[in-house]
Chain length 182, copies 2
Amino acid sequence: MWIPRRFKHCPSCGAPVEYRIPADDNRERATCTVCATVHYENPINVVGTLPVWGDQVLLCKRAIEPRYGLWTLPAGFLELGETAAEGAARETDEEAGAQIELQDLYCLMNVVKVGQVHLFYRARLLSTTFNPGPESLEVALFHEHEVPWDELAFRTVRETLQHFFDDRRTGRPFTLHCGDVV
Amino acid sequence: MWIPRRFKHCPSCGAPVEYRIPADDNRERATCTVCATVHYENPINVVGTLPVWGDQVLLCKRAIEPRYGLWTLPAGFLELGETAAEGAARETDEEAGAQIELQDLYCLMNVVKVGQVHLFYRARLLSTTFNPGPESLEVALFHEHEVPWDELAFRTVRETLQHFFDDRRTGRPFTLHCGDVV
């Protein structure tokens, strides 16, 4: 499989790097040809929420690439200095301007081909007043039959929504769903 | 709070970077002073298992820094090209040489001060034959009263073990625990 190679130069000293297997390792790592520093590349987390109002879910229409104009749950990259739950709440504020009460972690999905782990929390909307941020063209509530299934931005968003409506229909308690998107 | 600044030079072209807030952003990012590429830094995942044999749990005595000589659950950094569950199983193999059946995600803990999200899966040991890897001095099974509570390597390991023995004592089903380590 394709593994991204982010480094051409050493972030510490600026000299060229080579991808080599360090002595105590079993994978190629970006290794500085001058200062010998080894630089690791690892998957990162995308964190977001599934905001619910009665039978409706909140979606944001993307104002940015990738997937400009398609619909998504509010989500974005987890930042240094915050917990996953804090990041999910921050993204919901930034992208939807929605007031929420954050609930439990609901979906953990690996998106191996892009080196991401997506974490979605359920959230209870506290009002229907939204304030789309610069990354959203529009924010709206959808009943299940209104969800624009063919205009969703990401597979993990589709799967999270499917789990939610399935769980809701069957009356199961909302417990964690784990999965992989290939 | 302290945010690590990993980049002094641009990994793309090697020129010096400056930490600046990009036009469409609200945080300082490593920005190349020559090619203008923006380099992001995000939390990464540590993945591992809680391997169980009857009433006993498996721990590894660390043969590497940090925390040389202290006891830990088998765990390590999630790598590109694998799912969180695959990474947890790989670490269990590499550090303990233990045969397991991987079970559900059990603990998700944010360790904000070091920019990490730790994920521990429960695992059922299939045998008591272990094969400590180069990162482990020793691998052993412990009943609750035998766990070296004062010689555990990491707070997230302690909390995962505590949740497990608490859940086991009360007979609760093993569901996900989320928490933050400060």
